[in-house]
């Protein structure tokens, strides 16, 4: 059984009389331990997909199953608990709370999980060690560089040992060198067995993941799976029946650059 199972997921927004299909009949499986990127230009629906995957939003149609739990019927409180226990988020703008120092920021998810102060501190320090930020624990976010802030944010995302980590444009606010470091960190985490979903508009960044899913106009346009294809770098047709990938998207994926 896959860690995440999306079946026929659609998200429809009603703007005035107009109906906007942000997601249209998406079927997607993510296996445990996968390193996957969701790619697409802005407005393609990739953010909506991430929100639904991340239990921040509910689909209009279709079913979402995360770690064996059906998300549809869950209440707000249950969704919050799922986000807290099973999901970690890394954002483009780091989204650390400026009033708290790094350690307190990392402790935050555990506060909502109801852990004791001692256990929180130990696990937070452990997570900070993992991302190489344990020597900056008492710093405020404002005193850190962008890369350091993102590392702290990754530590926060990992601290509750989530089943899956979503990173939404994690390098979007960093210079290319620092961005590379962060991507290497994700790579490392992936090797340690974490399930990571990278959401980006940048094909170059997406290129580091073995599996790439391109979203266009609310549909999965192409799926590239290096692991499945081996060295053949085979391009799979979309899972959506009758949906042939536009040729331009193939070059966009920049597979050859890898």
């Amino acid at each position: 059984m896959a860690l995440v199972e999306l079946r026929g997921v659609s998200k429809i927004y009603q703007v005035g009389d107009e109906e906007i299909r942000a997601l249209d009949n998406i079927n997607l499986d993510i296996e445990s331990g996968e390193f996957i990127s969701i790619i697409g230009p802005s407005g393609s629906g990739k953010s909506t997909l991430m929100h639904i995957l991340g239990c921040l939003d509910a689909p209009s149609h279709g079913t979402v199953k995360l770690d064996g739990i059906m998300i549809q019927g869950a209440s707000q409180t249950q969704l919050a608990a799922i986000r807290n226990q099973k999901i970690g988020f890394v954002f483009q703008f780091f989204n650390l709370l400026a009033k708290l120092n790094v350690l307190q920021n990392v402790e935050l998810p555990m506060i909502y999980a109801g852990l004791s102060g001692k256990e929180r501190r130990e696990r937070a320090m452990e997570a900070l060690r993992l991302v190489g930020m344990d020597n900056r624990a008492k710093h405020r976010p404002m005193q850190l560089s962008g890369g350091q802030q993102q590392r702290a944010a990754i530590a926060r995302a990992l601290v509750n040992q989530p089943r899956i980590v979503f990173a939404d444009e994690p390098t979007g606010n960093l210079d290319s060198h620092t961005g590379e470091n962060i991507l290497n960190l994700f790579h490392e985490l992936s090797r340690k067995g974490h399930t990571i979903v990278l959401v980006t508009h940048d094909p170059e960044i997406a290129a580091i993941t073995p599996r790439r899913i391109e979203i266009r106009d609310g549909k999965i346009a192409t799926t590239v799976d290096v692991t499945l294809a081996g060295l053949d770098r085979q391009v799979h047709r979309s899972l959506v029946v009758g949906q042939s990938p536009p040729p331009s998207s193939l070059s966009d994926l920049s597979i050859s650059k890898e």
Binding site: L56, R83, F89, N95, L97, K99, L108, P109, Y112, A113
Partner: protein
């Protein structure tokens, strides 16, 4: 998220914006201190009013006075016996709910004179020594007459300070306190020896005023000396003046020296002017009156020529006046507390708008609707509670300020009950003020909140 974490979170938020939090609290501080201060002023007023009531003997004191016969008994007018010592003895024997009985025989048109000075006191009464206790008198100098003085019908009297002031000179005029023990005065033609003097009775407010004047002597008046006219009598002062101009002499002295010549024969008039009784407790007042009436109806041969007079009306009026003052003052103070609460609500709304992104982050990493709700609610409550505590402290300052501005008023008294009410009300205001902002914050959509710039 547990409660302690929520409180520490609220405190952190307050400390992060010290000045804004202080301004927000100011409304609550003022509201609480005005509520406590108002209640302290009303309590002071009440104390002043009750003081006067206690001075005349309190609620337990009931006076039995002669009364016109009721219409259906008019034909028995010539047979009525009046209030006499028989009643006193009968009540003593039979009325178990009556704790103390004091007969009183008053001198009509009393005139005290000494050399060329004349004074008409409010009351010259022949009575028993226990009148001292019943009427809350305190002998400050000399002694009260005793049973032997009464038995021997000695010409001795105990005077109040008003009599002293008129016949011997007041401390204000003479510059020293004259204690005329052993001096002789003439009471309606009979020479009496002063054996005791009551203490000077005055309300708390008069005493303060007097002490204040003592400290800062009045500016010498310019121009020729003159009467400055009647400046109005201070509230409550009249009761104390009446008490100060009381003269007590033994009952037998009164009876033999002043009542002997009242009739056509040589038998002194045995009728008492009135009879004061003290009932065992205020709660037993009705029963005690019924019991006394039954006894007196026996001694009076069924002729109802007596009536009871209590201070119930007076006491009820005080209660009513205090309730009105408390209500009107309380409403104003509570309105100011509510205004303070609206201030908190306003700031909380501003604060959560400022923190929409933070709320989004918190929700994304697992904060439930409830924990966001609690976070905002605890914050507003903590602001209100800190404001409440500060307000309690400020109320002492407020009361001191009021005392300094108008020292002649009854001294305000801060009561624990007022503090508790004000503090718990501030807590309620804090919770209520936080409800709407907390609801708004908790209902924020995490996606929208995360996108908010």
């Amino acid at each position: 998220m547990n409660f302690a974490a929520a409180i520490s979170l609220g405190l952190k938020e307050i400390l992060a914006h010290k000045f804004r939090s202080l301004l927000t609290m100011l409304g609550i501080i003022l509201g609480v201190s005005s509520l406590v201060g108002m209640s302290a002023i009303v309590k002071g007023m009440e104390n002043g009013m009750r003081e006067a009531l206690i001075e005349v003997g309190g609620l337990e004191r009931v006076q039995v006075e002669p009364q016109e016969l009721p219409a259906h008994q008019r034909h028995l007018d010539t047979q009525k016996v009046g209030i006499t010592m028989t009643d006193v003895m009968a009540l003593k024997k039979s009325a178990s709910l009556v704790k103390m009985i004091v007969p009183e025989m008053r001198l009509s048109r009393p005139t005290l004179s000494r050399s060329n000075k004349v004074f008409n006191p409010f009351l010259v009464a022949g009575t028993w020594p226990n009148a001292l206790e019943l009427n809350q008198h305190v002998v400050a100098h000399g002694r009260m007459f005793n049973e032997i003085d009464d038995e021997m019908a000695r010409n001795v009297c105990v005077i109040g300070t008003a009599t002293r002031d008129e016949l011997f000179g007041s401390p204000e005029d003479t510059g020293r306190e004259i204690i005329p023990i052993g001096e002789q005065v003439n009471i309606n033609g009979q020479l009496f020896t002063i054996i005791g003097m009551f203490k000077h009775y005055e309300s708390e407010q008069q005493r303060k005023l007097r002490e204040l004047e003592k400290k800062q002597p009045k500016e010498p008046q310019s121009g020729p000396s003159r009467s400055r006219g009647w400046g109005g009598r201070q509230r409550g002062g009249f009761i104390f003046w009446l008490k100060n101009s009381t003269v007590y002499i033994p009952l037998n002295t009164m009876w033999m020296k002043f009542r002997a010549s009242a009739g056509t024969n040589n038998i002194p008039d045995p009728r008492l002017s009135s009879l004061s009784i003290k009932v065992a407790s205020v709660g037993a007042l009705e029963n005690a009156l019924q019991q006394s009436r039954n006894v007196l109806m026996q001694t009076h041969l069924g002729i109802e020529d007596f009536a009871f007079r209590t201070q119930e009306n007076w006491s009820e009026n005080i209660t009513l006046a205090i309730r009105n003052a408390r209500l009107s003052g309380g409403i104003i103070a509570i309105i100011s507390l509510i205004v303070g609460g609206i201030g908190i609500m306003n700031i909380m709304f501003a604060s959560i708008t400022e923190r929409i992104r933070e709320i989004g982050i918190r929700k994304a990493i697992g904060a439930t609707t409830f924990s966001v709700f609690m976070q905002v609610l605890v914050e507003s409550t903590v602001i209100a509670l800190i404001g409440g505590v500060a307000g309690l402290g400020a109320s002492y300052g407020l009361v001191a300020l009021l005392g300094a501005v108008s020292p002649s008023d009854n001294a305000p008294v801060i009561t624990l009950a007022a503090m508790l009410v004000a503090f718990s009300f501030s807590a309620v205001v804090g919770v209520v003020a936080g409800l709407l902002p907390a609801l708004k914050a908790s209902r924020l959509d995490p996606i929208q909140a995360l996108r908010y710039e």
